[in-house]
Amino acid sequence: MSNEQYRLRVNGSEHDVRDAWVGESLLYVLRERLGLPGAKGACEQGECGSCSVLVDGTLVCACLVLAASAVGQDITTVEGLGDETAVTDVQQAFIEMGAVQCGFCTPGLVVAVHDLLDHHESPTDLEVREALSGNLCRCTGYGRIFAAVEAAIERRAAAPS
């Protein structure tokens, strides 16, 4: 393979990528080279949202982004939300409301819900459904995921700003 070398900024830290093939997706590089397996691969064509990450604040499917094209941009993955000792309000709502079964779609959904609520503090039920329609879940039928989003919205509304 070729030996490309570049640097990515992920969750606020600089990461050198060495000896990489230039055809590698951002998803592959995050998972296999940078030790950040939170973004999951389930379709490789941007249909399922399991690999959702933020690139310069925009929600994208990491499987559709060439890693080398993300140089100089701020990349945020699920590992960049909260930390090992503290989960975010959205993550807490997912845990409590039964939104997690197998959990494979969960990191992508958590990133997508953060993106939604950070831009829109009180989305309607239909707006939530529209916003998450790019994130497939095969286990839950989405009912408990909607309940988790609703709980997160209510908690943010109740929290002192």
Partner: protein, 756 residues
């Protein structure tokens, strides 16, 4: 990269009947839970599989020399490199590890490579030259069972033929309705793609496999046979599993991954992409079912006739068991004294089919519920009333002659479903109309329809299978440690196992040991069986440990241990009230028991389909409300109401999760999900072309849990995983029929079936 497989998970909190949070939930929301695809090892290679492009062809030659010329390639293997048994299979060992001489379906493995990078693997596969003599595929299951074609496999073209004959074959009634129904091929479409990491022992003496599977011990048995190793040389640990739904019951990449690791003496990881996944696992059987129902004019069933043809594809997998479920559930949850049922599972050059949630009953239910609606029309009865007139009850005889011994609250599931609130009428916001954001529907064209369906589903394994589960419990210093090989695939067994231990032992801390083959088998996570079977094993192991604890306390107090009970966190003498905390009673002491739990034996069916072949049954009803734009063929499923017979809800939030998730899969089969096959080739092996329900398709679910604990079940609880996806499909189709007046005899219902 870190691996948390094998880490101990400590839970705390609630008892049976509460809904504590899952012990794996925090790691899963943080992206730290290690799925099989997240595993990694130093010096690891990647493995990939070369697959047949033809549905049926003779292999003339395989030239792998081109692959070896590519830098980074470490192994290229074919059938010649399989040291043990050349075939595997769950029921009959008829499927080659790699094709030998002949390929029988598009996607059959022919060779595999290991290399330093996934892209190197892809280039190596491209460089392998396989010369085929293409043969005419057998793709019509009717032709396969007609017997006029040459066998496409040494075992023949019929995987199983089974009749079920009850009562008087000549019985008749005043009313006769008949129909032919077709069910398309559905994919389980779990999100976590097939993945494994194999670590070879020094010198190739054995191998360790981290694998996403439904049944570690069955995998081990088949892998060891193909590797030519004894089972103790093959050690399996459950890698994190991203859903299963039946698709991980058969071997996929397990043997290939181990072979590559043993050949290279290096760790090898294999991971399918979505396209390969469609070829790498079995699917739900497509089926054609003809039924004729005879009834009295008041709607009382007199006789059911059925002919059921299931296309098993190229290899046997579990087709014979799927067929048995279909023929034994052909009448549905209804009393009927006479039945003539004839079922076939055919071998063709189509993709192999096997287990998927509902396992043969999904197909049968779509047919019998469509028939019950026809019968209601013919008798001038409401569909709910017709069903109530025919419901089966405990003590009734099934078509096999088996007496129904399960708790059978069929009347309750029907009446409670019918009583659930209806959704509001169609509103003015076009976003809520069929087609949604496309804004294509015309408000004045939209028709609303309501449909109803009922199902019964067998629980656990059938037909004489020695079905058991093993669990170990250790109690020491106020902490319970549980060990089992039960595959956690997302359903949440890990949370109820801890609830059981807390309830029985009065402890808060429960540690779950790694799920692997260092303890006896738990059986498969399928057939709605783990809550009953592994729940039963954990329950029995905890009870055995509790007896030891009681004996120990009783000997100190010089009393009979039968006087002791657990109350909260204390051991209490039920006669004089003396108590000691479990913490104090277990301090410095250790009690450990390993238990195998078995359900009662079952029988094989004889050639007329007689025999008590099933263990137990669960029942469910669904009511669907749909809005349809008949001009465009667009369907919006507005609401599903359901009452489900669950025995006892051990973790009510998880039960709801199973209900909602199963309904979404039933909705998928009703209106969108189908693997389209043409000439033995899958035309839509991607998530772009195989449509899955999204957040915008999910209906509102209103539900009622019917809790009548089953005395047969160790915890009173019935399995809850499969029923939600069974009668939801025919309920939705009935609702579309009500809205459109169309006959709609095939699923999924496509737009053209409605509008053309």
């Amino acid at each position: 990269m870190t691996t948390i497989v094998g880490a101990k998970t400590r839970g705390s909190g609630a008892r049976i009947g509460d809904s504590p949070t899952r012990p794996d939930a925090t790691a899963k929301v943080q992206g730290r839970f290690a799925f099989s695809s997240d595993l990694w090892a130093d010096g690891m290679l990647w493995g990939k599989t070369l697959r047949s492009p033809h549905p049926y062809a003779r292999i003339i030659g395989i030239d792998v020399s081109g692959a070896w010329k590519i830098a980074g390639v470490e192994a290229v293997i074919t059938a010649d490199d399989v040291p043990g048994q050349l075939t595997y299979g769950l029921i009959s060992s008829d499927q080659p590890v790699f094709a030998v001489d002949v390929v029988r379906y598009v996607g059959e493995p022919v060779a595999a490579v290991a290399a330093d990078h996934p892209e190197t693997c892809r280039r190596a596969l491209d460089a392998i030259v396989v010369t085929y003599e293409v043969l005419t595929p057998l793709t019509d299951p009717e032709r396969a069972i007609a017997g006029n074609d040459d066998p496409i496999h040494p075992d023949g073209n019929i995987l199983r033929h089974q009749r079920v004959i009850l009562g008087d074959a000549d019985a008749g009634g005043d009313v006769v309705v008949e129909g032919e129904y077709a069910i398309g091929m559905q994919d389980q479409a779990f999100l976590g793609l097939e993945a494994a990491l194999a670590l070879p022992d020094p010198g190739g003496a054995g191998v360790e496999l981290f694998i996403a599977t439904q049944w570690l011990h069955e995998d081990r048995k088949q892998i060891a046979a193909c590797l030519g190793l004894s089972e103790e040389k093959v050690r399996l640990t459950l890698g994190g599993v991203g859903g299963a739904f039946g698709a991980r019951e058969d071997i996929s990449l397990q043997v290939h991954c181990c072979l590559l690791a043993l050949h290279t003496t290096r760790p090898v990881k294999m991971q399918y992409g979505r396209d390969e996944s469609f070829f790498g696992h079995v699917h739900r059987h497509p089926a054609t079912i003809r039924m004729r129902h005879h009834a009295q004019s008041d709607g009382t069933l007199v006789k059911v006739e059925a002919r059921m043809l299931f296309d098993g594809g190229a290899y046997a997998s579990t087709s014979s068991a799927v067929l048995i479920n279909a023929v034994t559930h052909a009448v549905g949850p209804y009393r009927c004294a006479n039945a003539v049922i004839d079922g076939w599972a055919a071998r063709t050059n189509n993709p192999p089919c096997g287990a998927m949630r509902g396992f043969g009953v999904v197909q049968a239910c779509f047919a019998h519920e469509s028939q019950m609606d026809k019968l209601a029309v013919a008798c001038g009865l409401d569909p709910v009333e017709l069903r109530l007139r025919n419901v089966i009850q405990a003590g009734d005889v099934l078509p096999t002659g088996q007496v129904l011994e399960s708790v059978a609250p069929v009347v309750r599931v029907i009446e409670e479903t019918a009583a659930l609130p209806m959704p509001p009428a169609l509103g003015d916001d076009p976003m809520h109309w069929p087609g949604g954001a496309g804004r294509t529907a015309d408000r004045t064209h939209v028709q609303r329809g309501v449909g109803f369906a009922v199902a019964m589903k067998n629980l656990m394994y059938s037909e004489g299978f020695d079905d058991y589960s093993t669990a170990r419990c250790r109690l020491e210093s106020n902490m319970a440690t549980l060990k089992f090989a039960t595959a956690e695939v997302g359903q949440g067994f890990v949370v109820i196992a801890a609830q059981i231990a807390r309830t029985l032992l009065g402890v808060d801390d429960v540690v779950l040991e790694p799920i692997d083959t260092t303890i006896g088998s738990a059986g498969s996570t399928s057939a709605s069986r783990q809550t009953w079977m592994s729940g039963g094993a954990v329950d029995a192991a905890c009870r055995a440990v509790r007896e030891r604890l009681f004996e120990d306390v009783a000997s100190r107090w010089a009393i009979d241990p039968v006087r002791l009970v657990i109350e909260g966190s204390d051991v209490v003498d039920s006669i004089d009230g003396q108590r000691v905390s479990v913490a104090d009673a277990t301090e410095g002491r250790r009690f450990e028991e390993t238990v195998e739990y078995r359900h009662r034996p079952t029988e094989h069916l004889d050639e007329l389909g007689r025999g008590a072949c099933h263990v137990a049954f669960a029942f469910v009803a669904h009511r669907a409300v749909v809005d349809v734009d008949p001009e465009l063929g667009l369907v919006k499923v507005v609401q599903i109401a359901t009452a489900q017979d669950v025995g006892r809800a051990l973790h009510p939030l998880s039960v709801l999760g199973q209900i909602e998730g199963g309904i979404a899969q039933g909705l998928g089969l009703a209106v969108m999900e189908e693997i389209v096959i043409e000439g033995g080739r899958i035309r839509n092996p991607s998530f772009t072309d195989y449509l899955l329900p999204t957040t915008l398709d999910a209906p509102v679910v209103v539900y009622s849990l019917v809790e009548e604990p089953d005395p047969q079940a160790p915890l009173g609880a019935k399995g809850v995983g499969e029923p939600p996806c069974i009668s939801s499909t025919p309920a939705i189709v009935a609702a579309i029929r009500a809205a459109t007046g169309r006959a709609l005899t095939r699923i999924p219902v496509r737009p053209q079936d409605i509008c053309l």
